[in-house]
């Protein structure tokens, strides 16, 4: 795969990751209740543990996928051209799923999750007392979004196959940092005289933007992966 194609894939994947709504939503809810039940200092103390749990989950998924894909590549067990075509198909499906089924209908930012899972997570977010609680909540928060992010991580790793170890590691670390941006943004939002009400209104306002970004990015990702597979074999 050429460097340009890899860079475009990485850029689109980072953009999609930065727009994922579940973990920032849970973080916003958790921070609001921590502010309400305790104090800003206590909320600030708990936040890094949520962030750590969230980041560790993504890093763990990446690590497992990297070992899996690099091993398959090393022993030439897999035809990456077929895998790329399969991923492109998944991204086309995800483009339409994100347009029609990412959010629930109506004037709400509720996501299309199992209601039982959502209420369990909400209950946990509202009742965080200790640092391990915050860590576990962060760790669990990106689990339901794996349906979107797992193929994305696979595409990132395949795009990195032709890179040497140093740029590979640097890009993965950069990707992990980008995934933190929404959480930092919400943290900053709460620290600039804004409240949960402003955040809820803003999320509702940005709902069509998020859906459009997902739709366009997933479709573009699919197109560039097909282009890469046809021209460079992966």
């Amino acid at each position: 795969m050429s460097v340009l194609v890899s860079v475009i894939i990485l850029f689109l994947a980072m953009l999609i990751q930065a727009f994922m709504q579940l973990s920032p939503g849970i973080f916003a809810l958790f921070y609001h209740y921590a502010l309400g039940k305790k104090s800003r200092k206590k909320a600030d103390d708990l936040s890094p543990y949520y962030v750590l749990g969230y980041e560790l989950f993504i890093a763990a998924v990446f690590f497992i996928l990297c070992i899996f894909i690099f091993t398959l590549d090393y022993y030439s067990f897999i035809n990456f051209q077929y895998l790329s075509f399969a991923l492109a198909g998944i991204f086309i499906a995800e483009a339409f799923v994100s347009l029609f089924f990412y959010y629930r209908k109506g004037k709400t930012t509720a996501l299309f999750l199992s209601r039982k899972f959502a209420s369990t997570i909400e209950h946990r977010a509202k009742n965080i007392k200790t640092k391990p609680d915050a860590f576990i909540l962060g760790f669990l928060s990106s689990l339901p979004e794996l349906i979107f992010t797992l193929p994305l991580y696979l595409a990132v790793i395949i795009a990195l196959l032709d890179f040497t170890i140093l740029p590979r590691s640097a890009v993965l670390i950069f990707f992990l940092l980008i995934s933190l941006m929404p959480l930092f943004w919400i943290f900053g939002f709460y620290h600039t005289d804004h409240h949960f009400a402003d955040l809820l209104r803003l999320r509702l306002k940005l709902k069509p933007v998020v859906k459009t970004v997902f739709f366009l990015c997933f479709l573009s990702l699919s197109a560039i992966i097909i282009f890469g597979a046809l021209n460079y074999g992966r």
């Binding site: 579940l22 939503g25 849970i26 916003a28 809810l29 609001h32 209740y33 502010l35 309400g36 039940k37 709400t108 930012t109 509720a110 996501l111 999750l113 959502a118 997570i121 909400e122 409240h195 949960f196 009400a197 809820l200 209104r201 999320r203």
Partner: protein
Amino acid sequence: MDDKTINNLRRELKIHAHALDIPEGAAESFIDATLKSVQKSLSKKSIITKADLSRFVTKELKKYHADLAYVYNNCDTII
């Protein structure tokens, strides 16, 4: 409405009010006023659903603090 429901509702509204930086005294006075008004309105009804309660509380709270009413009504719809 039983006392347990009212107390839970009062506790929840106080949490939201504290998170929204509403002064404690002001928050307590309009939460009490809201709950009294809601109790009065709903006392005539034989069956009260959670949605009824939420709607009445939101409507009453809006008179005092629009942000608090908005958060109370929408905090469960973020995820």
